[in-house]
Symmetry: C2
Subunit: 199 residues, 2 copies
């Protein structure tokens, strides 16, 4: 629809998740319509963040420091390690206020079809960290998807002898969910993993 | 959720239409995760567009030239003038391939409560343009909303003597719409404006 510089902006915005043709056009037009300084601040904020953020040297999460705020926080329990797929997941878990241990970000899940093997999920670094810290509980907080399950199985079996307790997030019905609209896989798993109402 | 530079990016992204907390966080995290060059290109594209685009000296639309491509196109009919609320609307009308006249962008609709009077919608400039070009048809392609209607009434009455034909977009049921889910205002208007099936 647009041409020249505006088309270039539209093309660039479409790289973002959830931004298709229509949204890109709307955002592009909005940006050239808004207060010039406000719009330039957006560009500057992107540059700042992109130029500053890198992966934490210890846990791989995206951070503006060499070692992230979680790894350098000495009040957090070093013996608990929570594995997540990406940095966003760290913040989601933090919002629950349920966890006070450390994190490790895989940045990927095992996916032989896409050529992602143990190195692609930083497994060697994870193994060294687990041994060095003598981790007592390893929480595999990964999606219960095909790739998530195979990653859970792989890490679970490889580190079973090194870590006393390897756990994964509970699976079952989501709160607010409706049995009628639940997949039979979820439902049969929920039935199998049923627990006493007194728990 | 985020802090520091990432929070600043999140705050900036929330200025955009349709971007709330969750989307801003997702976009911010995506940008610092993606290829650095790709992300910096987005910022550069925003800067380029914002620094280049300004309002056309003749019709007010946003353009990367002093006079926009439509105003400077001599193959377009000078005697037809289509009034739209904003630049986006120009492109939407262009996509229909139904119109070969010129445009004029109001950038606002009349809204006494928000202090937007005739100057706020560039009415003096519109009046000069209409007189200078001896416009024969003025199409008021504005939303059939409260502000749109009062703008249509205002411009229609003020320019009735200067322009032979002042028209507005047809109102009625949208194609693909369902009478059951149509507001009674739309339905009663559609009934009043019914037309012969032979038209």
């Amino acid at each position: 629809m647009f041409s020249g510089i505006l088309a270039e902006l539209e093309r660039n915005l479409k790289k973002l998740p959830g931004v298709g043709n229509k949204t890109a056009q709307r955002l592009a037009m909005f940006m050239v319509s808004m207060e010039k300084k406000e719009a330039l601040d957006i560009a500057a904020a992107i540059e700042d963040a992109v130029n500053t953020y890198r992966h934490c040297e210890v846990c791989n999460m995206l951070t503006d420091k060499e070692v992230c705020e979680f790894c350098s926080d000495t009040t957090r329990d070093d013996k608990q390690l929570c594995l997540v797929q990406n940095t966003q997941d760290v913040y989601l878990i933090e919002q629950t206020h349920e966890y006070k241990g450390k994190y490790f970000v895989l940045n990927n899940l095992l996916s032989p079809l896409d050529g992602i093997g143990p190195e692609g999920i930083s497994f060697p670094a994870l193994q060294r960290l687990v041994e060095h810290r003598e981790v007592e509980e390893l929480i595999l907080a990964l999606n219960p998807s095909a790739e998530g399950e195979s990653t859970i199985n792989f890490i679970g079996s490889r580190l079973a002898e090194k870590v006393h307790n390897v756990t994964r997030l509970s699976t079952g019905l989501p709160f607010g969910g409706d049995i009628e609209y639940t997949s039979s896989l979820t439902l049969s798993n929920a039935l199998r993993r049923r627990y006493s109402v007194k728990e």
